[in-house]
């Protein structure tokens, strides 16, 4: 079914494009994108209330309940310095020297699965899926499938994604999410850490108490790294908060104020 739909989609797009637009071959290259020259304008910061104290909530099935609105504590820049292969190190140095110029985020493109913003995230949890909604960046979502599926059919459908395909499983109270199927277009953090389409991401989510969400992250990438690297993020629950609408493109186009 997936393959069929993939072909249908591609075919219908191709046919429509040919029939309606007589698309020249060069038009299939991405156009010169317009972006914020100095990065995405900062959003007026909302100071989150202090995280509450209390016991870790559980779902009716007895699993850790990650539901809630969460705000990153600390920097969006990854503290670890990856051990890069020469080509990736060179690219990383170039990006650092360019001081953020060319940052995909400044073109309102997706941050992917590793990079995070300072704006809140919301976890919506069901027994078979967790959806992570993002307020910032592209105001989009990630989905963690908990239904025991294998990644292959989805990869067949769409092998090169910004956010990849994320499949979770429970390890006691921890949720372990494995993600593959990436493209190589995102930066892992604002400093420009590169990765390849061979990246494998492992996130281990734990909620030690009511107010905190810990994520232990391992990035493996045989094409870009000489060895995997790990780092940790902590998010604080923002009680009473919900996500606001943020449309990067509308700010870029001047139809909405930052």
């Amino acid at each position: 079914m997936n393959t069929k739909r993939h072909e249908l989609t591609k075919a219908s797009l191709a046919i429509a494009a040919l029939a309606l637009l007589a698309l020249p071959a060069t038009a299939q290259q991405p156009a010169k994108l317009r972006g914020f020259p100095n990065g995405v304008p900062p959003v007026k910061a909302r100071k989150p209330p202090a995280p509450p104290t209390g016991a870790t909530p559980k779902t009716p099935e007895g699993k850790t309940d990650f539901s809630g609105v969460w705000v990153l504590q600390g920097s969006t820049t990854i503290s670890a310095e990856p051990s890069y292969q020469p080509w990736a190190q060179k690219l990383y140095e170039q990006r650092k020297a360019a001081k953020g110029k060319g940052d995909p985020e400044s073109f309102c493109l997706p941050d992917g699965a590793v990079r995070v913003t300072a704006l809140p995230y919301k976890f919506v949890q069901g027994p078979k899926m967790i959806v992570v909604l993002s307020e910032g960046n592209t105001h989009s979502f990630r989905r963690f499938f908990l239904d025991g599926r294998k990644p292959d059919p989805q990869l067949d459908l769409d092998p090169n994604m910004y956010t990849g395909v994320s499949i979770g499983h429970w390890d006691g109270d921890a949720l372990v999410v494995d993600t593959v199927g990436f493209n190589d277009k995102t930066w892992l953090d604002p400093s420009g850490k590169p990765h390849s389409d061979a990246m494998k991401l492992t996130e281990r989510y734990t909620r030690p108490d009511l107010g905190h969400l810990n994520v232990d992250i391992t990035v493996d990438d045989e094409k870009a790294l000489t060895k995997p690297f790990t780092f940790k993020r902590v998010f604080a629950l923002a009680p009473g908060w919900d996500l606001q609408e943020y449309v990067c493109q509308a700010i870029l186009d001047g139809v909405e104020a930052p």
């Binding site: 079914m1 997936n2 739909r5 249908l8 989609t9 219908s12 797009l13 429509a16 494009a17 309606l20 637009l21 007589a22 698309l23 020249p24 038009a27 991405p30 156009a31 010169k32 994108l33 317009r34 009716p60 073109f107 309102c108 493109l109 997706p110 919506v124 949890q125 069901g126 899926m129 959806v131 909604l133 592209t138 105001h139 989009s140 979502f141 989905r143 059919p153 989805q154 459908l157 769409d158 994604m161 910004y162 956010t163 919900d242 996500l243 606001q244 609408e245 449309v247 493109q249 509308a250 186009d253 001047g254 139809v255 909405e256």
Partner: protein, 280 residues
């Protein structure tokens, strides 16, 4: 020759074109000559008369309410299926309620411009109530239902089913603020707080910040979803707008990652809108 630059804005613009094909013809639409009647029933991935999804029992949430979770085909969630309206001078053929004079002018200008100013084609949210011609995913939990869009902006809507009311002093947004409650097996989603940027349909029908949208979701059996859409916007229309939408479950599929802005080829057009004088 530069026309293709606009048109090739990939699926955003493509959906615009297809939307123009499918939308009610209250004004002359481009490129619709010879379109088969069936085309009026859908758009996007394939077109044709609405089909029936598989029957079977409706999955239930832990609180006993219907669970809408699943991938729902986008092609039939179009307003063209069944649109009616009331009010003085309401058109029996197009289903568009009578517009206030400013709206008549705005819509006519958009039509005259071949709908080239459609924000959806510039990777901005197209709605609601307008829906992208791609699949949507619904994710139901007892207190919150999510609508995840594959197409258009690949964003989401949240329907709060927790008994809460709309917050006071809502900041106008593309997606508005949605509060929902159950009436029997029907989820009634009430949305206000819209900005006035998006269009109601591919025909450029405008709306104001006063728009009040009510969507009633009902899953009569496993494979089918009915969405009744009611629009009241006294700032734009003198009557009431009613749409019946239907969609079917897509089993064994997932919504894909759709990144409109990756191939947004319309920035030149936007520059024109920003008065730098350049138009592709």
């Amino acid at each position: 020759m530069k026309k293709w630059l606009i048109s090739a804005a990939a699926t955003g613009a493509l959906s615009l074109t297809l939307a123009a094909l499918a939308a009610p013809q209250s004004t002359p639409a481009p490129q619709n000559a010879g379109a088969p009647p069936a085309a009026a029933g859908g758009r996007g991935r394939g077109r044709g008369a609405p089909r029936r999804g598989p029957g079977g029992p409706v999955p239930l949430l832990s609180d006993g309410h219907p669970d809408f979770s699943g991938i729902w085909n986008g092609q039939q969630t179009v307003q063209g299926n069944d649109v009616t309206s009331t009010g003085p001078g309401a058109s029996p053929t197009t289903g568009v309620p009578p517009m206030l004079p400013w709206a008549v002018k705005v819509q006519a200008d958009r039509a005259k411009n071949q709908f080239a100013d459609d924000f959806e084609a510039r990777c901005l949210p197209g709605g609601p109530p307008r829906v992208p011609p791609y699949h949507i995913e619904l994710f139901s939990t007892p207190k919150l239902v999510l609508m995840l869009f594959e197409g258009n902006t690949h964003m989401y809507r949240q329907f709060f089913v927790d008994g809460s009311d709309h917050p006071k002093n809502l900041k106008p947004t593309f997606y508005g603020d949605s509060r929902a409650h159950w009436e029997g097996d029907q989820l009634v989603v009430d949305t206000i707080g819209f900005n006035d940027i998006s269009w109601i349909d591919g025909q450029g029908h405008p709306h104001s910040k006063q728009m009040h949208l009510v969507e009633k979701f009902r899953r009569p059996d496993f494979g089918n979803l009915q969405i009744e859409v009611d629009i009241d916007d006294p700032g734009t229309y003198q009557g009431h707008w009613h749409m019946n939408r239907v969609t079917t479950i897509e089993q064994g599929m997932e919504i894909t990652e759709y990144v409109c802005n990756e191939n947004n080829q319309d920035p030149g057009h936007l520059d024109h809108a920003n008065n730098d004088g350049k138009h592709p």
